[in-house]
């Protein structure tokens, strides 16, 4: 069983090939380089270096977001095109869940964080119990305060995962004191191998044509339009 994993949801890029439960190759970078420049060359590279042909793979796992809208779309577009044209199953994994899967055995809440600017974050909270990764707080777009409020209602210590946690570390410590634990650097980048593991263990294959990113946020223009519609209805 050969898996290709792709994560371009945020600044980091990760691509891996996992064969029969073993990581053959994984490329992880975290540089602010447009994914359109790097993603396909990186995918080409992992195939070249392993000598595996694209048609040899059995499944594709991709990070479905949330994250940078453009970043997520690049990975999802590549993954769905490859899966469709190679006729292979496609499995989407939340970019947050994939980060949580970097640190499965923490006994508490796993809280992956992706910065969404203006003191907002994409985040979720997961528990790893009996071999299952369960969402305690569903992935979403929160103000940091909102997220902290939710986390406080649980008695568990919280492991914050993701390179963006450093942006909010002070406030998290202020509010959660010694309940806040921070993942070591090697857990903070999304890893396509973790993504593949999560896809294998926790997810079902998707309908390729209809597969779209999980933006976790409605587009601004659409939000404004909906608001205007509601107003129109109130008056009329």
């Amino acid at each position: 069983m050969i898996w290709l994993g792709i994560d371009t949801a945020n600044i980091p890029l990760s691509v891996a090939i996992v064969k029969d439960g073993e990581i053959l190759i994984e490329e992880n970078t975290s540089m602010a380089i447009n994914h359109s420049l790097r993603a396909m060359p990186a995918i080409d590279e992992v195939f070249q270096k392993t000598g595996i042909a694209p048609s040899d793979i059995n499944a594709i796992a991709v990070s479905e977001g949330p994250g940078s809208y453009t970043g997520v779309r690049i990975g999802v577009t590549i993954a769905k095109t490859l899966a469709w044209t190679l006729n292979k199953p496609l499995i989407g994994v939340s970019s947050l869940k994939a980060l949580a899967a970097n640190a499965l055995y923490f006994n508490g809440l796993l809280c992956p964080i992706i910065d969404a600017r203006r003191n907002n974050v994409y985040a979720g909270a997961y528990r790893f119990e009996n071999g299952k990764l369960t969402a305690i707080i569903e992935d979403g777009h929160f103000s940091l305060g909102e997220l902290i409020g939710k986390l406080k209602s649980f008695k568990y210590p919280v492991l914050f995962i993701g390179k963006d946690t450093s942006l909010h570390k002070d406030q998290l410590i202020d509010e959660l004191a010694d309940h806040a634990v921070f993942a070591p650097i090697q857990f903070n980048l999304p890893r396509a191998s973790s993504l593949i593991h999560a896809a294998q263990q926790f997810e079902e294959k998707v309908d390729i044509h209809n597969f779209v990113p999980e933006y976790r946020r409605i587009a601004e223009a659409e939000a404004n339009w909906l608001k205007a519609q509601e107003k129109g209805n109130d008056h009329g």
Binding site: M40, P54, R73, T77, I78, W84, V212
Partner: protein, 340 residues
């Protein structure tokens, strides 16, 4: 005997997700377009983020349909041509990354096509191009006169200094309270009209082949404003007819002058505004008088489509042009000759 050349074209530069297979650069085998116009209508224009979201929903579906209609397998293709720019960057990136992934998986070469080269090469799907040729490109984002002395050799002899013709149509339509996209609406009102308001023509310098439409747009706004100030009724039919008369007059006159100066063998019009009935009629009449062959592709090939991208891509492919897996979206891409 030369083997037939099959190119898959992909276009996502704005609000149409399109894929097509073209044979030998001249023959449409399939041409699939998924339009977002219904969705974008809500916003009165194309919202880039919404456009990108729709492209991801449609992209593999349109490619699959293009191949199914063509009754071809990926291995039957010779290359993938995709719009590299100009356009909305987030939208371009969907077509480009789908094209790269498809090309990679099927070991096909990839060619990055300039959107306007595509609009020009739409002509080749109708009849062979003859050089020197003059192309009038009039679309939502462009108003250009391009001279071609041979395949893949472009000389920009005139362009808009402000708004594109289609943009002017859409803005004036908004002023008149018409729905998006405004071009066809103004065209309809103008055709139905029983009179017209006199608006100025922007000729610019006597020698210039450049265009300018923002002054005309301001004249329309001022005209409407003045009437409203005086409490008088604005007749949208008359305004539309007057606006269109000015646009058509300038476009026709400059295109005719350029065709004569450069002694061209063929004139073509392309882009969404080339769908305009009055513009077509006016150019047709003038060039008939001058005995210069003039063509406008059918409307489905004037507006954004992937067959035109595949047509231009075929010519580029035959000239040995190849893209790489690091192809990026180029929102401000310049039209560069590939045959130098």
């Amino acid at each position: 005997m030369k083997k037939d050349l099959y190119i898959l074209g992909i276009e996502t530069s704005c609000d149409e997700t399109a894929a097509s297979v073209v044979k030998n650069g001249t023959e449409i085998v399939s041409n699939v377009v998924a339009s977002q116009i219904k969705s974008q209508k809500r916003f009165g224009g194309v919202v880039p983020e919404i456009a990108s979201r729709h492209h991801v929903e449609q992209i593999t579906l349109v490619i699959e349909e293009a191949l199914q209609i063509a009754k071809l397998q990926p291995k039957d293709l010779d290359a993938v041509a995709v719009t590299e720019g100009p356009g909305l960057v987030g939208a371009l990136l969907i077509g480009i990354n789908a094209a790269k992934a498809f090309a990679f998986a099927n070991q096909l070469p990839i060619v990055g096509v300039h959107h306007i080269a595509g609009h020009i090469y739409a002509n080749q799907l109708i009849q062979p191009m003859e050089f020197p040729m003059l192309a009038l490109i009039v679309s939502g984002g462009h108003t250009e006169l391009v001279l071609m002395k041979e395949h893949g050799l472009f000389e920009l002899i005139g362009e808009t200094r402000d708004d594109a013709a289609g943009e002017a149509y859409d803005k004036v339509a908004r002023v008149l309270g018409l729905s998006y996209p405004g071009g066809p609406e103004i065209d309809r009102l103008a055709t139905e009209s029983d009179g017209e308001v006199e608006f100025p023509r922007a000729w610019l310098e006597p020698e210039s082949y450049d265009f300018s439409f923002s002054g005309l747009k301001s004249s329309v706004i001022n005209y409407k404003h003045n009437l409203e100030q005086r409490g008088e009724h604005v007749n949208p039919h008359h305004v539309a007819a007057g606006f269109q008369a000015s646009v058509v007059d300038v476009l026709t006159t400059k295109t005719v002058r350029a065709a004569q100066e450069f002694n061209v063998k063929q004139v073509i019009a392309a882009g969404g505004v080339a769908a305009n009935k009055q513009l077509r009629t006016s150019l047709e009449a003038k060039f008939k008088e001058l005995n210069i062959p003039f063509y406008v592709p059918p409307i489905s090939l004037c507006t954004d489509n992937a067959a035109m991208i595949a047509a231009a891509g075929s010519s580029m492919f035959e000239s040995g042009i190849r893209g790489t897996l690091s192809m990026n979206g180029r929102p401000g891409m310049e039209l560069v000759s590939w045959n130098k």
